[in-house]
Each structure stands twice: as C-alpha cells, then as structure tokens.
Symmetry: C2
DNA sequence: TTGCAATTGAGAATCAGTCTCAATTTTTTA
DNA sequence: TAAAAAATTGAGACTGATTCTCAATTGCAA
C-alpha cells in the first residue's frame, strides 16, 4: 500500500495542535480509510481493519472518523437508513452526487457553474458557506431502461 | 384549524389505490403534520397529537410519515444526529436549505438558475432526476457576527 | 352479519453511534 | 529515571430513533 505521507502529516499536525496524540491505532485507521477509492461506511472500515489482524474497536473507529472529518481529510457524504457514508476528500476534487433510487448507485459529478452559483446565493443571504452537499435522487441510465 | 381538503383527498386517493384505508388515526396525523408551518420531527409530532387528547402511537406516526412521503405530501429535509427532519411540500414552492452549523438555524431559499442548472447536469449524465436536496452548511449572519 | 384483510398500539427488538471506565500508553515533571 | 499527569484504548453498557411483532380492533365487501 502506498504510504500517504501528506495525509499523515496533516492529521498528526492537526492532533498535535490540539494536544492530542497520533497513536498507531489512529494511524492504522487513517491508512485503511485512505485505502478506499470511493465511499465507505464505518462498519466495513472496522471489519477491514480487523481482517488485517490489527487490533481496534468500533469506538476508536468512530472517534477517529470524527477527528478525520474535523481536520477535513474525509467528509460525510450522506446519511442513509443504514448509517453514515464517508469519503476521503483530500487530494480529490470536490464533487456532488446523483443517487439512483432503484439500484443505489452513486454517480459523482462536478460543475463549476454550480459552485459559482452557490457562492452567489450565499452572498445574497449574508450566509458564510463552509461546505455543501447536493444530492440529486432519481434513476440512472441503466435503471431507466429496465423500467420501460 | 383550516381543513386541508385537497391534501386529504390526495392522501385518501393514494391509499385507496393501494388497497389501504384512510383511517381516523391517519387523518389526525395528516392534519397535525400540515399544521406545522416549517420543519418538524416525528417525536414532536407524536407529542403534539397526544397533547390534543387524540390516541396514537409512535409506530403509527412513523408509519404514516412514511406513507405521506411516498405520496409526496411531505418530504424528508435532512437527517441529523437527532433524527429525521420533515416538511410538508404540497402547495409550497420547492426550495433548498442553508444550515447554520453554529445555531442550527435553517434558511430556505429558491433559485430558478439552480433548478435549470441541475436539469442540464442530469441530462448530461443521462440521469432522470426525481428530486434533489441542496444543503449548504456554514454560518448565518448572526453567528458570523458573534464569532468576530 | 359474517369474514377477511388492514390497522392499531404497546412494548420488544434493532442498529448506529456514543459513553463509561479500568487498564494501558505516552508525555511531562521533578 | 521514577513518578505523576494526561491522553488513549477497547469491551461492553447505554442511548435514542426507528422498525417490528402480534394480539386486539376496525373497516369493508358480499
């Protein structure tokens, strides 16, 4: 596995600044988190870590995911009936999602126009935007065909 | 309280079409749901119904909210740590939300440009959009002032 | 009215996520 | 370096939202 040096540095600096420690448990969770290409959920992450023989607990996974969110390395994508979906954002372009309500497939997309438009909307409301999620629900290409 | 005749009709027709019944319990939940001006959560709705002396149960409230979502009279706005937030949509313009991460305040807004832009984005992906949620998180005017 | 299917409500069950706390590890202090 | 202080860990208890179970009730069609 590729060592994610930059992410490690960011996380350990973030922790140090808050008087917290970059333990090996946290390092392991960070590594596994980054090994996902797309979206993931806490439970699979927990199992993935267990599989590789490392010792950890659900509590630590959840705690660490919260820390990783706070320092901006990962983000909560959406909350489903089955819990929260995360993705890592550092080194990835920001994007939004289309969610197929038939097959659950998630399509990522990005639009510069959309970003600009949102900035304008915030300004108009005197709102200081920090992050956003646009989720378009509907039917993906394949599922549209099936329905006919 | 104003009788919501149209909503009643929509709901009872929706139920009948599925071989389900428009019971007085469901009618009561519909009424109280519509009596909210803005956002609400299932627990307060449940308590509100209890307060007025009507008999109901959490199970029925949740069940009915799901039905009301399915027939489009209400919508899930967002899922927070403390559960799902709903709003009724029938007879209201579609809109999106800005969510203040300091005070929890929700600002509604609407943008024609945004709607058009999204249609374009869907078309480009071959995606058939049904609904969407845009949630911009950040700081509202008041909380920006406080932070300085 | 009879009979079947749908509905209800009380409480049990579920499930994601958080909390507790004793044991452990790391850092700081003397 | 030893001892004290502080942070972290993991197991499992706990919480709170939501769903499920099931016996009792209700509504509707014949």
């Amino acid at each position: 596995m590729v060592e994610r040096v930059r992410e490690k540095k960011i996380f350990s600096k973030f922790l140090k600044d808050r008087g917290q420690r970059f333990t090996k448990e946290r390092a392991a969770i960070l590594q596994k988190t980054l090994s996902y290409r797309g979206h993931f959920d806490p439970e699979s992450l927990y199992l993935k870590i267990k599989e590789t023989g490392l010792k950890t607990s659900r509590a630590s996974v959840y705690r660490t995911l919260n820390l990783l969110c706070e320092c901006g390395l990962i983000e909560r994508v959406t909350k489903t009936e089955h819990g929260t979906i995360y993705e890592h954002t550092f080194g990835h372009e920001h994007h939004d999602h289309m969610l197929c309500i038939a097959c659950g497939n998630i399509i990522e997309f990005y639009s510069e126009d959309l970003e600009r438009l949102q900035e304008g909307l915030c300004k108009r409301q005197g709102f200081l935007g920090v992050s956003h999620t646009l989720e378009i629900r509907g039917y993906c290409k394949r599922c549209q065909k099936k329905r006919r």
